[in-house]
Amino acid sequence: MAVKRMIEAIREALDEEMARDPRVIVLGEDVGVKGGVFVATRGLLEKYGQDRVIDTPLSESGIVGVAVGAAMNGLRPVAEIQFADFIHPAMDQIINEAARIRYRSNGAWGCPLVVRTPYGAGIRGGLYHSQSVEAFFAHVPGLKVVIPSTPADAKGLLKAAIRDEDPVIFLEPKRGYRLIQGEVPEGDFVVPIGPARVAKEGSHLTAVAYGMMLHLTMEAAAEVQQEGISVEVIDLRTLAPLDRTALVESVKKTGRALIVYEDNLTMGMGAEAAAVLAEEALYHLDAPVRRLALPDIPATPFAGVLEDAVLPNAERIAQAMRELARA
């Protein structure tokens, strides 16, 4: 298997799905001639033409709204929002329209679209190029929310998202686009939406993470391993629908849980994971569930020292693991 960067795996998935299925189109600001600001769609215009790779006017609600209409009328649109921070004008189209179409029409219409968008911090992007938006969408039944943390998953999950009959919000950890490399299976490799992945087995505590935080959590787990703390790391991969079983089964084994995410602390994935464990694994817990997340500030500040002051890093995660192991 070839080793690839995450951005290359995403491009490969788009290319293969467009070749496989003529209903797949790509649309968004800059996706055509430029190939996307992160070049995820580079080369697709030349290969599939401007009818299927559409440089749109700058209009987030319009991009998603057009994708919704196209999806209802037989296409498989993959809409790109340049940064997750710019997705808010499209929230109504995503939440009130895409997510509700199947339910409100009593199953008569579906909305098979993918909204891809780079998200997350750690790139010195400041408030409007660093946001984590997953909890907004994971709250909404009708949507599926997927976050890959490896190039293989990025390819496999994106292919699954494009083939899914329902709307999928596909959040790409942009700090990892080039930083994260890994083996990517050639050809038609699909990773099902839903199941979490055990990224590392362990016995003393469970650390739950996704996206870029998964890698920092793995780093921290390797560090505390040397101190005799065995951490089981769960990569959620799909935030909605959430793999409750994977969380519960792991905690039954370890008795402790730490949830790491770079979204704001309050009402983020940590709250949901903790609630699941309280409901379904309380008597297996040997210590209170712990969350490590961005504090409740309106996204990460621009200056490097300020960003570093708030964003979870491997050192802080390792410290949280040590404290939890002793608790």
Partner: protein, 312 residues
């Protein structure tokens, strides 16, 4: 045209009675806008053209082929209602057999959908036009701009059909737009704009037919404004006496499209008292049947409430 206008009005009046009787919680109807909607529907090809309506399009839906029973099932929120099986509010139309896309309540959101549907039709090489209707209030939304602009830039086969009934709930059109006519906005997008009398189905039919021809010829979208008036409150929950005078409503009643159309047919020698009576009897029977059928139809099964969140 006249038959559909009369039938729509009769269904409409029965729906308000049913609501006032407390049998259903809510109605929203086409009262006063029948000519505009019937005229437009007559210019479309049911089942071939894609329809993206809004919540006041009962006469449009009836003319395209939604049956009176189906409309009544919708008002009664019965399991058999094809629009949503009791999940969606009345008048939020959805009907795959007529290619009517499902819609929501926030206004204007369907306008980008129409652009997307037209994009899909063109990509698949279909000979179809997408027809998208909305009130004048929707022209103030961002989605109106984004959807029309998108369709204009890509020269998509769409007809944007603005039913200007003078009020967005209580806000009069002069507080909605600083231009004389919604159609003037078309120039800003580089597309054709037309403003026509919405109390007469014939010019509406002609305008929509021309727009459909233009769309099929690859010459892009058209924005049509039809000037009309709603004689009743926005919905059964609204009281329009708080924002408009009775004399104003009475003044517009003089332009009620149904008597106007009847007079025109009589003057042309195509209509008489006998034909009118026969039509009224036929319509009364249809409305009775639809209302009785829908009232007796089973309610949705509460056990089904978790279905259709995702594909099964």
């Amino acid at each position: 045209m006249y038959r559909f206008m009369v039938l729509s009005r009769a269904l409409d009046e029965r729906m308000w009675i049913i609501q006032r009787q407390g049998k259903v919680p809510f109605v929203i109807t086409a009262h006063g806008q029948e000519a505009a909607q019937v005229g437009a529907a007559m210019a479309l090809r049911p089942g071939q053209d894609v329809i993206v309506p809004y919540y006041r399009d009962m006469a449009l839906m009836l003319t395209l082929g939604m049956t009176p029973r189906e409309l009544m099932l919708n008002v009664f929120s019965r399991a058999e209602d094809p629009n949503g099986g009791g999940r969606q509010m009345p008048a939020h139309f959805s009907l795959p057999r007529l290619r009517v896309l499902t819609g929501s309540s926030p206004v204007g959101t369907q306008i980008p959908h129409a652009a997307g549907a037209a994009l899909a039709s063109r990509l698949r090489g279909e000979d179809s036009v997408t027809f998208c209707s909305f009130g004048e209030g929707a022209t103030s939304t961002g989605d109106f701009h984004e959807g029309v602009n998108f369709a204009a830039v890509l020269k998509l086969p769409v007809i944007f059909f603005c039913e200007n009934n003078q009020y967005a709930i209580s806000v009069p059109v002069r507080r909605q737009m600083a231009v004389e006519s919604a159609a003037q906005r078309a120039a800003g997008y580089g597309i054709e704009g037309r403003s026509v009398d919405g109390q007469d189905p014939v010019p509406v039919y002609l305008a929509v037919s021309e727009a459909a021809e233009r769309a099929r010829a690859g010459r892009g979208p058209t924005l049509i404004e039809v000037r009309t008036y709603r004689f009743v409150p926005h919905t059964s929950d609204d009281d329009d006496r708080t924002y408009r005078t009775r004399s104003e409503v009475e003044e517009f009643r003089q332009k009620d499209p149904i008597p106007l159309m009847r007079r025109r047919l009589e003057e042309a020698g195509l209509w008489d008292e006998q034909r009118e009576k026969a039509l009224r009897d036929e319509v009364a029977a249809i409305v009775d049947d639809a209302a009785d059928y829908a009232e007796r139809a089973p309610r949705p099964d509460p056990a089904s409430v978790m279905r259709h969140v995702y594909a099964d």
